[in-house]
């Protein structure tokens, strides 16, 4: 078991290193290959109006002229140990993890990321709770009543859920529930959990449901398929032969057996979502990581883009790590190997 965990942990660290290299390469190496000079890179930082001289100065100061390996080393060092930053006017401390300073706002990226993560995390957690519950429940009932009206209706809705884009369902529900009926908060509202939990939930309920609708569909189908299989397993027959009530048979024996693929997909989905639910955040004007990423890309603000990308990668890798560990909890057979 310990070896299993250690192996997974080492894997996760290696994965993160690779991701950081690839990200670095994409944002620093590829533009170079595409013909960008250190000066032209620096010009983004300095603004378009800067003179050639200023640009060169800034390029030097930011180390754009150093070999890439050195630049990468500096970048990683910043992440791990923090770094100092010469803004020209003064030297600023950028504590670890230092993702650099925004070209545009000249502010360190990390506090922004933390701030935006709260919104995205709120969105993801709430939506996930809804979609896991609704999707799994619908899948279980569908599987038990295969071919029934419920089954066909649920699978029809599931198909709609997978195929309809979020901005479409989001817009429709905003118009209907918020603007027409006034039941839910209008777009753009966000109250932090620490301020008022009830308000927090109220402000997010519509995005939650919209996002959950998208995901629940897949979970319903996955659960249904898994349950159709496990409910035919011998051990379910044994559970019935013991005289367990049907509900216990279904949940404790059937569903438990079908859980592994659900846990896997959930880890991936949740990890990805933490990196920013771009469409949902835009549709509901929520200032989460997704929207942050969009803004950063539109403004060509490299440190921000790097920061968001890396953070998203961290979420995915960590989510995967947790899934691997959960496997061992869900399936005792994994613990031995």
């Amino acid at each position: 078991m310990t070896t299993y965990i250690i192996r997974r942990l080492i894997g996760a660290v290696i994965m993160l290193l690779i991701v950081s290299m690839v990200t670095f390469a994409i944002f620093f190496l590829v533009p170079r290959l595409a013909g960008a000079t250190p000066e032209s890179l620096a010009s983004r930082y300095a603004g378009r109006t800067a003179t050639a001289e200023t640009q060169k100065l800034i390029a030097d100061r930011l180390g754009f002229n150093d070999p890439l390996v050195v630049q990468y080393g500096r970048f990683v060092k910043g992440l791990v140990a923090g770094s100092e930053f010469d803004t020209g006017a003064s030297i600023e401390q950028c504590p670890a993890p230092c993702f650099g300073y925004s070209y545009i706002t000249q502010q360190p990226v990390w506090p922004d990321l933390v701030d935006r993560s709260r919104v995205t995390l709120s969105l993801a957690v709430g939506a996930a709770a809804i979609w896991v519950f609704a999707g799994v429940a619908a899948g279980v009932v569908s599987a038990l009543r295969r071919g029934s009206f419920f089954d066909r209706a649920a699978m029809g809705i599931a198909l709609a859920g997978v195929s309809l884009p979020v901005f479409f369902t989001g817009m429709i529900s905003l118009v209907f529930f918020s603007y027409s009926l006034g039941l839910t908060a209008p777009g753009g509202t966000y109250v932090d959990f620490t301020v008022n939990p009830a308000q927090w939930a109220y402000s997010l309920i519509l995005p939650w449901i919209t996002l959950a609708f998208l995901f629940a569909a897949g979970y319903a189908r996955l659960t249904r398929a898994g349950m159709l299989e496990t409910m035919n397993e011998d051990y379910v027959r044994t559970a019935r032969a013991k005289g367990l009530p049907e509900r216990t048979v279904v949940v404790k024996h059937g569903l438990r057996g079908a859980l592994t693929p659900i846990v896997t997909i959930f880890g991936l989905d949740f990890g990805l979502l933490l990196g920013g639910a771009v469409l949902t955040e835009s549709t509901f004007s929520l200032n989460g990581l997704g929207k942050y990423a969009i803004d950063a890309i539109t403004n060509n603000d490299l440190p921000k883009v790097m920061g968001v990308t890396l953070l998203a990668a961290v979420f995915v890798v960590v989510a995967n790590l947790i899934v691997d560990l959960l496997y061992a909890v869900v399936d005792p057979r994994v613990r031995l190997s």
């Binding site: 070896t3 192996r7 080492i10």
Partner: protein
């Protein structure tokens, strides 16, 4: 585990002495010669997947098979029967020892050199359901060996295949049908037909009947016997059912944890088994005679077969043997011939001619 019996556990009535094949086929050069055959599967562990041990699936197996005879290979699950079969047919690469076919050493022969030999040596598999490709017709399956080996047939492959189908008791008109249209017994016939296509000399049959119903089992057993007589085939039949093995074999080898512990012609093996394990196996077979059950004095083994990862030292059976002494844990008993054609690996064999048994200790 209870007291062992002194008398032979299995009746071998005098009237049966004339049963066919009884020790008859053992003249001349062996068709197949297996010497000290070994197969160790590595076990890896830890971060670096270093090898920490080996599953000694087959660990020193020696026997000969003479032309025209049937050698039965019995033993509990996991004792290495299938692995032995796969080593002989070179579907697996031996770790040690040698396999000779018609006097030629084929232990490490390259696949290219093996190809012509594959015509002479065929394998029948246990599961008639998974061993046939569901997308191929019977004609394609049975005719495949002709095509693979590039063999010219007199009246075309189709004719040849239909002849074989008739030989194994299938309707030649089934040529264009698919495996799923057949019952288990018929599928096993198709599997047998496939191996017969190239007129092999040796057939290794791995549990050829254990997936079949009793009434169908008997059909396939009879078919195997008929084919043997008609085509002068030599069989190595792997099975765990001791009654089936007695029925079809001329000689029988008993395996335990990767080793042959006893080998003899069927009459002396079933009539006067010497190895305690063989005695235990035979005594465990349920007898379809309700009256007999009260009177039978049985040997009951406790526990299960130990893991082949860590087989017990010296005599591997000592953890379950009721006759085990200190020497059994110290010294591995060699496989020695205690009666004509009857070899056993035990320090304290049962039913052994007295003086020879002493000599073996």
């Amino acid at each position: 585990m209870t007291t062992p019996k002194d008398t032979a556990p299995v009746s071998d009535a005098p009237g049966s002495a004339a049963a066919p094949g009884e020790g008859a086929a053992r003249q001349g050069e062996p068709l197949l010669s297996v010497r000290d055959l070994q197969k160790h599967f590595p076990v890896t562990k830890g971060l670096l997947q270093r090898q920490v041990g080996a599953v000694k699936a087959v660990d020193g197996v020696t026997f000969d098979v003479y032309p025209g005879e049937t050698l039965g290979l019995v033993g509990e699950s996991g004792c290495g029967k299938t692995t032995t079969g796969r080593l002989i047919t070179r579907l697996l690469e031996p770790t040690g020892g040698s396999v000779a076919f018609e006097g030629r050493d084929i232990t490490h022969m390259s696949q290219g050199h093996l190809r012509p030999l594959r015509r002479d040596m065929q394998m029948i598999f246990q599961d008639p359901y998974s061993s046939l490709n569901p997308r191929h017709t019977v004609g394609t399956i049975v005719g495949a060996p002709f095509r693979i080996q590039g063999i010219e047939t007199e009246h075309g492959v189709k004719k040849a295949v239909q002849e074989i189908l008739a030989l194994v008791g299938l309707n030649p008109e089934h040529y264009n049908r698919y495996p799923h249209e057949f019952s288990g017994g018929q599928r096993q016939r198709i599997g047998i037909a496939r191996t017969l296509a190239l007129k092999p000399k040796l057939i290794i049959a791995d549990e050829p009947v254990s997936a079949l119903d009793v009434s169908i089992q008997a059909q396939v057993v009879n078919l195997l016997e008929d084919l043997q007589n008609e085509l002068n085939l030599t069989y190595v039949v792997i099975a765990h059912d001791l009654s089936v093995v007695r029925h079809i074999s001329d000689r029988v080898a008993v395996m335990y944890l990767g080793k042959v512990v006893e080998i003899a012609d069927r009459k002396s093996l079933y009539g006067a088994p010497m190895h305690p394990y063989t005695n235990a196996l035979l005594s465990a077979v349920p007898i379809p005679d309700p009256k007999g059950r009260a009177g039978r004095d049985r040997i009951r083994l406790t526990g299960d077969v130990p893991s082949p990862l860590n087989p017990p030292p010296a005599c591997r059976f000592h953890t379950r043997c009721w006759k085990a002494q200190e020497v059994c844990k110290q010294q591995e008993p060699p496989l020695v011939e205690l009666a004509t054609g009857h070899k056993v690996a035990c320090h304290f064999p049962e039913n052994a001619p007295a003086q020879k048994a002493d000599a073996a200790v």
